[in-house]
Symmetry: D2
Subunit: 372 residues, 4 copies
């Protein structure tokens, strides 16, 4: 068969990341048909034309519905702002296209539910862009846990911290509006939730606390405006099977740039990981000799598939964009009907339900169970 | 005046640590009278005699009340198991002795309250052995926060983890009995609480979750016994002044040996510290140039008093036992009526109230305010 | 103008790396014509055809000279074993093609000299594949040194260590033959030399010591064969301008996977870097406050161009293959006649002269000046 | 028998360190007679009296020969500037006292030789103060190597760096005079040499390079003075048994405070250590599973004797001064005729011979064998 026909909507941070992945996946893996970069949609036709030239798409349009209508397009990458995901993804699915949608699904739970329903009806692939689960280190950690390398897991902590909201003197912008969501919780806490899901399953019950480091932010024209959501969130959780977990998210954490730090404690050892040093993880096993026990810093290596598809030597390092190439390859597997390491709209919805439960637990100052 | 006359009750882990501190404080600091190591009490006279010889005490006894009665004794170090603290500390205070009592005050809140009342009546020094607050790194962090080096603090995380309860095959012993306390919470979460108090003030409200990694533990003679308290505790907190904090304690954390990790986030920077690397801390300041911002690893140096009393060169490192020597020096200051960096029975009681509030919040699955 | 027509010879580790770079450079940078992947040559036509399909080349051949003759080809990537570089690069240059040749130039100095002469005659671009110099961290370190961030540099140490020759039980193979070169010195010490050159200029004088960790290695059929070159090399050096340097290379260093560690000492600060953690460097400046001085761990960020072309957010990390994309972009600049950050055959030859001087200094047990 | 009678000459950095050790050794170890702190000598009687009071010595004197003559003194701690070591140590040995002398023996080789001869004649203990060899981490590394944990060692690197001479604006003082010695080489390179000796035996042959980061330094009254020795030294070495080693010393290394970094490469693994984090070492063993191989960070623990004498729990950390207490305990063992982990005047002399050989190799720009 010829390669998949790709349509891309949006060319921001994630749009470019999708484009790079579609462009490289065949060369990196060497075992799939080269995708055809058919058409790109942007907010206006000029921008779309310029971006199509830059990113290697054959055609461009200022109207994303053109992509939905294009028979040469097999799959649509949805990388627009979150508020547009539902409309686009549902339209694509209903037109018989596969969908690769950036996280989160949608600001409103009802929209996410409609997306999931559309996916179910369509029988097409509907996958979320949770790229951190694709890190070979995370995939190997999953395998280690499965094979009992640290015994039975009993406690987990995960932190996600960046500092893009840390400056109190930065002007008020839409990320501080209530309409954009709860703040740290849905802005990026969904990433650590995707990791927890992949490693341990879904969340059962939660209680969250949230704070506003800065109650007001300056306006461009002078004066200030009240901040409407929370840059810091901390959550106690119980996961499927009873594992206790703590989730911490802070988008005002000076000095943190892309921290997603996992601490996993088991009955026979522990595992540590931090996305800021994404090419290593640490493993402690109590079976090591008493006087030589310690956390082992393991560097990414060809033994940690699919690192080997990128580089044949250990310790040379993958980058953030490489994770998207791996995700793209998984997508192709899934479309072929093979087992894939992906988060579809079903599990994506469950992740978003847990976020909404957290917000409710904060509002009501009590433990809340996550709807299944 | 001649040096303080010292009586020591108990010669375990902390008893020896007190003895070493009393023995070295004058030589290290060079500005106080040499304490007189007058008398040592242990559970029986033989052990007491042997330990007195080892640790350099002039006399010994199998009856701790002999120390209370000894006019040559000015201060009593109480380092026995927690259940004995109240009786000994109160007797000493009532006999007009100063008291240096290991943490926590007592398993029962009522006992802690009686201790605090006795201290108040006695007008003698009644200080807790919260040695981690004495680390020059912690003292410097306190000074940095006070002078605004990281702006206004808005969020704090603290973890205290060790692995002495991590082995599921280890035999049941008293630390798993309900009579010994709540488990991780009072067994060592009081240490991070002492740090939070010193840096930010007291705890206002809490909600805790706790888990038992192992519901049963083997018995020596075969069979097993149910574990009665919790080795893992996680707590959401609000501190005085509104700072939000997360406290995590795990005494079953394989690979952690003496971790007390602080993450302090402010409006202009962040500070990190981990007691496992007690001679360094990390400082991030947003005033550094954009392309050269990063966490600065600062090594302990003579500029961080009283490190300079131990070593005149930077980066050579203090040890755990040195913290007790510093604490001992603070004690002597306090007895002289000088300002000292110590936690007395008043603040100690408040710390214990917050522990009991945590336990209650877990039992009742709700936020609990800490009684003042 | 249309994009460059690319011919690729060789599809091993570096061949694939070149292919990925040619494939992605336009999409990543968005400011260059998309290269045309014209033709690929491999050792036989079948392999060539398969690899062309995988890597996205339009045509393929079992005879590399076909690429030289192809008018649609503007530039040749030479990624074959070192012994073939001279013949291919010279043929390409003489046919009026630009050349991008993997390091080192050639095992024999005379061949490297012929390559440099051919480049000079051709007036075409002749660039070496020294990808580590392209790391945005290295490029920023160069800028920091130039602007005096650490004052005058007076001493440098660089280590390059991997463990692919560390196993004494691994079978003898060609890397242990004298015909393959000196061992650690030319096998990879040229990489740290490329960094030293970019940061400080060329090497003036050297004295080296070399050792064989294992004097013999087993043969497949039984018995063993004497090792003919040295897996460990250590070199004292003086650089242009009098800076003293130590170069250490060990390809039998268990646990090291891609370590290229720099320590740069100046009159006002120091800089540290390690390629195993390629997305960070450490900076110490004596202008920081006395009690807060420390090495600052700086994470790669958009401020460190051209990181921003890959990712708009800090701390997310580039990978090893991304360095080749940057190198490819520099190549395109150089071909356009713009200033580029590259090592051409002139400087490449000088690097190889310093390697041969090291080998001679070891053989003659004396300091040797590097021929200019 | 009663405890040793101690005389201390000098009360600077190391003098105080000896005093603290003598004062604590019995309490820490609990298995030796408590030393009697008999007499202290300083440059004048007033200072001596004041220091004796501070450090707990019974008597004091402004004339060090009084200590030599005092029958109550069994052992003399010599902690004066290096130029005085020979006279004092020889007088003490000839008077039948044991001697504990700070490193190095003496600036002039002839003096060191006289010291060694005096020690030999006296049949008393004559031990050097090489405290870093006492670190339980170093002692455990020695044991690991001996038991083959990393196979046969083939290559070693050691760095010793501090920054007390790093400031070019600091005034000229005696450490930059030729009379004080070679600079970095004897000022502190003897410390890493003591570690190499303990772990691998003596040095056979050397070639050194040395540099002056600053050729002149300012004088207090204005103007400047030429620097007469070298703050940076780098040495290629061959050790007993053929192991190759690189020794690097830099006392102008901004940001380094007490770095003594070891990298030990063997046929089955590697070991790393850095004195700046003196309570840990790293171990890599190729016998670990391929996908989980990594450097294991091992924290100091009771399993690493005699850490257990200080603290019964792992990971709590010893300090620099604790190393001297361990050294003191070894001394007492040696005096009792038991096997001890110490460097006596014989091996101390051999270390100093290797330093002088390094200086000569630099002057003559050639490899020099160390006299045995």
């Amino acid at each position: 068969m010829a390669g998949l026909g790709v349509g891309l909507i949006g060319t921001g941070y994630m749009g470019k990341c999708h484009a790079l992945a579609w462009n490289s996946v065949a060369s990196v893996f060497g075992d799939v048909e080269r995708p055809r970069l058919v058409a790109l949609a942007e907010i206006d036709a000029d921008l779309a034309a310029r971006k199509a030239a830059e990113l290697g798409f054959a055609t461009s349009t200022g109207n994303w519905r053109d992509l939905i209508a294009d028979p040469a397009v097999d799959i649509i990458s949805v990388t627009t702002p979150n508020a547009f995901h539902a409309e686009m993804a549902i339209a694509a699915l209903e037109a018989g296209k596969h969908v690769w949608c950036e996280k989160p699904m949608a600001p409103l739970l009802a929209d996410a539910e409609r997306m999931q329903a559309a996916a179910k009806r369509s029988r097409k692939l509907a996958a979320m862009g949770y790229n951190y689960i694709q890190n070979p280190m995370i995939r190997h950690i999953k395998a280690l846990i499965a094979e009992g390398a640290i015994g039975t897991v009993n406690h987990v902590r995960v932190e996600m911290d960046e500092d893009f909201m840390a400056d109190p003197n930065a002007l008020f912008y839409w990320k501080s509006e209530a309409a954009s969501g709860y703040g740290a919780l849905d802005d990026f806490a969904v990433h650590p939730l995707s990791l927890l899901f992949m490693l341990f399953g879904h969340v059962d019950a939660v209680i969250a606390d949230m704070v506003k480091p800065y109650s007001e932010r300056p306006l461009a024209g002078g004066g200030s405006r009240g901040v409407e959501n929370h840059d810091v969130a901390s959550v106690l959780m119980r996961l499927q099977g009873g594992v206790s977990a703590v989730l911490m998210a802070n988008r005002s954490a000076w000095g943190r740039k892309g921290r997603i730090a996992l601490q996993i404690f088991g009955s026979e050892g522990s595992i540590l990981f931090d996305q800021e040093r994404m090419n290593e993880f640490e493993l402690y096993q109590n079976k090591d000799g008493k006087a030589e026990q310690g956390f082992r810093r393991v560097l990414a290596a060809p033994e940690h598939a699919p690192y080997n598809r990128f580089i044949p030597a250990p310790g040379h390092g993958l980058g953030f964009n490489d994770l998207k190439i791996i995700e793209c390859r998984e997508l192709i597997s899934a479309i072929k009907g093979e087992k894939a390491h992906l988060i579809g709209f079903d599990d994506g919805l469950r992740i978003e339900r847990s976020v909404h439960a957290m917000a409710r637990s904060f509002a009501e100052r009590r433990w809340v169970s996550v709807e299944t």
